[in-house]
């Protein structure tokens, strides 16, 4: 009927488990975005969706199509590589931007910028 009919039982169990686990982790990550109290704690939540969710769901897809051999699975590998390489950069930049804005607005509870040390003489 469809391509999924040809999947052996063990592969089907693995794919089901990985897909459900991955989406549950992504859901918990977004729930953290909703429920955590301030920005700096919320900054930790999306990492859950990217490191857990993306890897598990891509692995499910790799297992499914590697067993079926109906299409190449390189795109999933590329998605995993790109997401793992790019997410830390985004979150780091957002954290720095938030810190900068909070310092400009002089909010409480944000660590102050340390005074810059004097320039070394040999520069």
């Amino acid at each position: 009927m469809s391509h999924l009919t040809d999947l052996p039982t063990w592969a089907a169990i693995v794919v089901c488990g990985l897909v459900l686990l991955g989406s549950a982790i992504a859901l918990i990550g977004s729930l953290g975005l909703l429920r955590l109290p301030d920005f700096y704690t919320r900054l930790h939540a999306p990492t859950l969706a990217t490191s857990g969710g993306v890897i598990l769901i891509c692995t499910a897809s790799i297992v499914c199509f590697a067993v079926l051999q109906s299409r190449w699975v390189f795109h999933e590998v590329l998605i995993i590589v790109f997401v793992i390489m790019t997410t830390p950069v985004t979150l780091m930049l957002l954290g720095q931007a938030a810190l900068y804005r909070d310092r400009v607005e002089e909010r409480r509870g944000v660590p102050l910028k340390q005074k810059p040390l004097p320039e070394p003489a040999d520069e």
């Binding site: 089901c16 999306p46 993306v54 997410t87």
Partner: protein
């Protein structure tokens, strides 16, 4: 039998991912500050990409995987641009 199990579990996963997208969208609309909105947008991108991947497993159509790749890259670039904007008020310095 296996087909039915996979279809149902993918449906459950899609419901969970839809809920996750709704949470991220709420954070994006509600704020309270600009950096929260950008974080919400970034999470929305990731969840949308996962949704495309689950459709891809369901239908075995490689268009879904290519679009997931593009969504991931464009989401990264746009989040970086927004973050730069928050930091300095300009995108290119």
């Amino acid at each position: 039998m296996t087909e039915l199990a996979i279809i149902w579990s993918i449906l459950a996963a899609q419901i969970m991912l839809g809920l996750a997208m709704a949470f991220a969208l709420y954070r994006m609309v509600k704020g309270p500050r600009a950096q929260d909105r950008i974080l919400g947008l970034d999470t929305l991108y990731i969840n949308a990409m996962l949704m495309l991947l689950s459709f891809g497993i369901r239908t075995a159509n490689s268009i879904y995987f290519e679009s997931a790749l593009i969504v991931a890259l464009i989401g990264f670039v746009s989040s970086i641009a927004f973050g730069k904007f928050l930091m300095r008020g300009e995108v290119i310095e």
